[in-house]
């Protein structure tokens, strides 16, 4: 049904009428918006049912679409709701009356400023404001730690994971099932168990001949832990890409005289690159989001963003956390977009229909 036709259907008129009634009855804009969402979307999405559909079928279909709408709202609302909440002028986790009546004074950027200022020795300006912020502001430090750890862990996980995935997807690979389940298991084993094991193991001195000190409370320890946790995601995405890989391309390349490295760089690599990058993105977001291993293995010096949020939620809940959360949601949207573009590119390269 065309868009124009939908706008002139009886159902649409009924919806408008019901919405106006609802608005008159409750006199609340917010409530009406909710009403419109829950009842309007399914009506709008409903395609004309086949001629044999009974009235029961129609009601059933409408109820089904209404349920789906509610579920989608359940999925997305908690994430979207924190965005306006983070602009709260008051130190509360909820909407104030001023915010509901869209009073500009009820909104402010103070919690975003707080991200930068919290922990600084002289937040109101001083001779070395920038270096003070860079070195002392709690959230800035956490951000630096998070990104440093995530980048190192991603590089390690992606490199080792891609190599292993290349081996695992060869048809002649022995013990494939056993090795795959071993390499996926860091995703399955509860994080508390992994973190506890690593905490005891890394706390010993002289475990690695080249590294005499204990690895607890060091960046190295956390990077190793996060790399382990990112590995399953790299394996899964890269093997998925390789499963659609036409192995005769390798033989074709070899038949035309290319050696192993040339074949890898000119034929295999470009085709699996989208898979590799999305695996790396998964490993990156896993590390960026990981907090249990950090709780066990890190000191105050290595605190990451989620670790800081964790203690913030436990100790002093302030909307600064919501401001940080909003920024993290924006980062997720960016990564998700990148992943979607990669997926389309990969499908195009493999000759599948564009999504």
């Amino acid at each position: 049904m065309s868009f124009k036709k939908r706008l002139t259907s009886n159902g649409f008129y009924a919806l408008i009428g019901a919405t106006i009634l609802f608005l008159l009855f409750t006199q609340s804009i917010l409530g009406t918006v909710g009403f419109l969402l829950i009842f309007g979307i399914p009506l709008f999405c409903m395609n004309p049912l086949p001629a044999y559909a009974t009235t029961g079928d129609k009601i059933g279909k409408y109820a089904y679409l209404a349920i789906c709408t509610i579920i989608f709202i359940f999925l997305i609302l908690p994430i979207l709701i924190i965005i306006p909440l983070s602009f709260n002028a008051e130190p509360y986790f909820t909407f104030t009356d001023g915010m509901l009546s869209l009073d500009p004074d009820a909104y402010s950027f103070r919690w975003y400023a707080d991200i930068v200022r919290f922990g600084m020795t002289s937040p109101d300006g001083g001779p070395n404001w920038w270096s003070d912020m860079w070195n002392n502001a709690t959230w800035i430090r956490a951000t630096r730690n998070s990104f440093f750890i995530a980048i190192c862990a991603t590089l390690l996980a992606t490199f080792l994971g891609t190599l292993a995935a290349l081996g695992l997807s060869r048809p002649e690979m022995p013990f494939r099932a056993q090795i795959t389940s071993l390499l996926i298991s860091p995703m399955i084993v509860p994080l508390v168990i992994t973190a506890t094991g690593m905490f005891f193991f890394f706390a010993q001195k002289d475990i690695f001949p080249f590294f005499p000190e204990s690895l607890v409370n060091t960046y190295t320890g956390i990077v190793l832990a996060h790399a382990i946790l990112g590995v399953p995601f790299v394996i899964i995405t890269v093997t998925a890409t390789l499963s659609g890989f036409d192995r005769s391309l390798i033989r074709a390349s070899q038949g035309m005289g290319a050696n192993g490295w040339t074949t890898f760089y000119k034929v295999i690599m470009p085709l699996i690159l989208p898979g590799m990058i999305s695996g790396a993105l998964f490993a990156f977001i896993t590390s960026l989001d990981e907090v249990v291993a950090v709780i066990f293995l890190a000191d105050v010096d290595q605190r990451t963003i989620p670790r800081q949020m964790f203690s913030g939620l436990r100790e002093q809940i302030s909307p600064t956390i919501l401001a940080v959360a909003t920024i993290l949601v924006l980062i997720s949207i960016g990564l998700l977009t990148a992943l979607e573009l990669l997926r389309r590119r990969s499908e195009r390269l493999r000759g599948l229909s564009p999504g």
Binding site: I79, I81, M173, L183, I188, F199, I228, I285
Partner: protein, 433 residues
């Protein structure tokens, strides 16, 4: 291969095996090539397997070892730990004077020892796990033991505290002198040694771990079931809509999946708290009064609601990928043969989605049972999971052996489920997005 143009060395002849150009029998050559290729594939995975082994498998193995290995007594009082082995606990008599003498000497030495893990305090804590309340007995006796100049040591100790005449205490000391002990594994399943050294169930008041484990399993099952109920209609919708629309709606599923766990948990705190959005809406709509706000967070309800939201994508994605492969014509065929919508759904559509259901429920259940962060933040005291107890023992009470024993039990449960997942679904079916 019967072409005469080929060099005749390569042609099979009854009396000679098939050989390659360099004269090696083909069978041998093929075996060798296959072996090289297998080795090459294996070599590619080797660095990662090594890494996972060193930084993941060995640490967990070591932790499991810690659950049954606790050398505190033999480290604090090495001579005593050796001497007490000769004592027959079932004789009904206290250990000999000689053992008492060694014990006092070891206590005096240990009191001077400041090395971490080898102090009287460590010994006292270790025995206190098995005999609650015995801690002060050890510390105060150690303080006074230095004043005992000469024997008989047995009487001297009994004079300091008559509890030293308790056979149960010495039996426990003897058992703890052995580096390998079942005490912590037993404690983790709410069992203990009684006065006669037999294994019995703990006093009903002290049974906490099995109930928490059962509660963890129960809540995980509830979360899995709710995820299934919610995910099924949505996955069906996504799989039947045209690709363009379903991709758009898929973003609504994937965005939560890609959003930080902490972000989602703090969002739920904002939604569910007593001054939060849901309560505000209900007060506004007049469902509840302003003084009747519902406590939805820092209890089981909060844990269940936020975990369902967090784990939902892990249910939707496998269901969706299975449903996408089911042709819609099956349902139309069933309808055209006279089945009602409901009948056609349960007899034709639903059975075909079981692989997706198995994959989704197992994955969600496995992930739920080991959850730590969300229960710790929104669970309060009553919505916590077994993981939270493990973390408490490792980080707060520092009873590492008991923490490891609890972890061992959780690991066994999870590994059993993982094995099941491997059998039913196959680990290679795991996909995201």
């Amino acid at each position: 291969m019967s072409d005469t143009a080929l060099p005749n060395t390569n042609i099979a002849q009854p009396d000679r095996p098939l050989v390659t150009a360099d004269g090696i029998p083909l069978k041998q050559k093929l075996a060798r090539t296959t072996r090289t290729m297998k080795l090459r594939a294996l070599l590619l995975t080797l660095p990662l397997v090594f890494f996972v082994f060193v930084a993941f498998v060995i640490p967990i193995g070591q932790m499991l070892h810690r659950a049954v290995h606790n050398p505190t007594v033999s480290e604090v009082a090495p001579n005593f730990a050796e001497a007490i082995q000769d004592w027959d606990a079932d004789s009904g008599e206290l250990p000999s004077e000689q053992i008492f003498e060694i014990f006092v000497q070891d206590l005096v030495t240990a009191r001077q020892n400041r090395e971490v893990g080898k102090t009287v305090g460590n010994l006292a804590t270790r025995i206190n796990y098995e005999i609650p309340g015995s801690r002060s007995l050890f510390t105060s006796t150690a303080r006074k033991a230095g004043r005992i100049e000469q024997g008989p040591y047995k009487e001297a100790l009994l004079e300091i505290d008559e509890d030293w005449g308790d056979i149960h205490l010495w039996r426990t000391l003897q058992r703890a002198s052995n580096n390998y002990t079942l005490a912590f594994m037993l404690a983790a399943v709410d069992m203990q040694y009684d006065k006669d050294g037999d294994i019995v169930q703990a006093n009903e008041l002290y049974r906490i771990y099995i109930p928490i484990l059962l509660k963890t399993i129960g809540l995980s099952a509830l979360i899995t079931f709710l995820c299934f109920l919610i995910a099924y209609p949505v996955s069906y919708l996504l799989s039947t809509l045209p690709l363009r629309t379903s991709n758009l709606l898929m973003i609504l599923v994937l965005l939560p999946f890609w959003t930080s766990l902490l972000v989602r948990t703090s969002a739920w705190i904002a939604m569910l708290q007593t001054e939060g959005i849901i309560n505000d809406i209900m007060v506004f709509l007049g469902v509840i009064g302003d003084d009747g706000r519902i406590q939805m967070i820092y209890n089981q309800t909060g844990t269940v609601i936020s975990m369902v939201h967090i784990l939902l994508p892990f249910m939707i994605l496998p269901l969706y990928s299975v449903m996408k492969t089911i042709p819609p014509s099956y349902m139309r065929a069933a309808r055209s043969m006279g089945a009602t919508q409901t009948y056609a759904f349960f007899r034709v559509y639903f059975p075909q989605t079981t692989p997706g259901i198995a994959a989704g429920t197992l994955l969600v259940f496995i992930l739920a049972i080991g959850y730590y962060i969300t229960p710790a933040l929104v669970g309060g005291s009553d919505g916590i999971f077994i993981s939270n107890l493990i973390a408490d023992h490792i980080k707060k009470t520092l009873n590492w052996s008991l923490g490891s024993a609890l972890a061992a039990i959780l690991l066994v449960v999870v590994m059993t489920l993982y094995w099941l997942y491997n059998r039913l679904v196959g680990v290679d079916k795991l996909k995201f997005g």
